[in-house]
């Protein structure tokens, strides 16, 4: 594929999105199968209680260490969480790859625009949750 050809941008971006979605979907399917097999006949009532400021479920925490432990133990919720993380990462990857695609087209303005979008996005995802006063 010739990346200088403007047509290729649509093809590459389309593929990034498609593979991201398929990977995420496959992981969530795995988590859902574990969930239904292990807990399908349980009542939802015990699971859908919202505790502000606390993790939603027993045994689930949103930290990286907690997620890795859950994955190793084949915890349904951890696998679903991983699938959701891949889903969130999909549009972010699309923005990242677009920077290179615009660079291949030698479109400097859009390299700059897309790089700024990526910076804003990463700031918003990783930095804002830990700034006190951001979000009640």
């Amino acid at each position: 594929m010739n990346l200088k050809d403007p047509e290729s941008m649509n093809v590459v971006i389309g593929k990034v999105l498609r593979y991201g979605v398929l990977l995420s979907g496959a992981i969530v399917v795995l988590g859902t199968v574990i969930l239904v097999v292990s807990n399908g006949a349980s009542e939802t009532a015990g699971f859908l209680t919202y505790n502000a400021g606390a993790v939603p479920h027993d045994g689930i925490d949103v930290s990286l260490a907690g997620l890795l432990r859950g994955l190793a133990a084949f915890s349904a919720f951890s696998w679903i969480e991983l699938g959701v993380i891949v889903l969130i990462a999909t549009p972010v990857s699309r923005v990242l790859i677009s920077i290179f695609l615009f660079a291949a087209e030698k479109d400097r303005i859009y390299v700059l625009i897309t790089a700024v979008v990526l910076a804003l996005l990463l700031f918003s995802i990783f930095v804002t949750p830990s700034i006190p006063g951001f979000q009640a």
Partner: protein
Amino acid sequence: MFIVEFVLLMFFVSIFAGIFGSIVGLGGGIVVIPVLTILLGVDIHFAIGASIVAIIGTSSGAASTYVKDKVTNLRVGMFLELASASGAIIGAAVAAYTESAALEAIFGTILLISLVPMVIKIGEDIPKSPELRGLSRRLSLKGSYTETDGRVIDYNSTRPVEGLAGTVVAGVLSGLLGIGGGAFKVLSMDLAMKLPMKVSTTTSNFMIGVTAAASAGIYFARGDVDPLIAAPVALGILIGAAVGARILLRSRNTTVRKAFAVLLAIAAAEMILSAAGVLP
């Protein structure tokens, strides 16, 4: 309710949400949220967390088809993402100091008012293409796509600054409430930038995933994304979005506009009723 029933119910609801969300560029949250809160009595925080998952899923699931078929305008999308990503950060920063009922009342009313130009343009197929000049020209905010009947539609856009301003509002709304961004994006591209309707909804669809991803960090860190809800929503939405994308490519601009107007009215009503305390 048993977990297996809950999972199946949300799976089918989300297929439906994905179909509509991907066609009108709003992302499916406006279907998922009321089903969770009103029908199933789930806490609004979990519903918004699920809506974030629904929006990202609709966006990426349908965009892979739209981008390949070149209906989405990538440059318009990237340019406006500057505004929506900034808006999302502003929204997150001011959320602690604002009253969400007041915001919903204001934004719901704006959406309701914007129904008027939508309805006036209800029969419009392709807008008269404006002359490409100034910033729009420098940023090559123009494009071309093939219609269902084989016509190749070449179009230009206009008023990029107004488009940016409308999209900042969309981003702020997403950052504040986790919902509602798509409507302002479509309105900005349709009413200000004069893009063909299908270009507006599919480009909005392309962008809402990035805007929702920007807000996802906060919701995820707070534990608002409940895996039990996220799983059936993600799977249903991805299937629905794939179906919706195929439907849109075969639909006329006038049909898409009508569908958008109906869902815009529903979104406005949801916001106003929520502000009034009738809905959670």
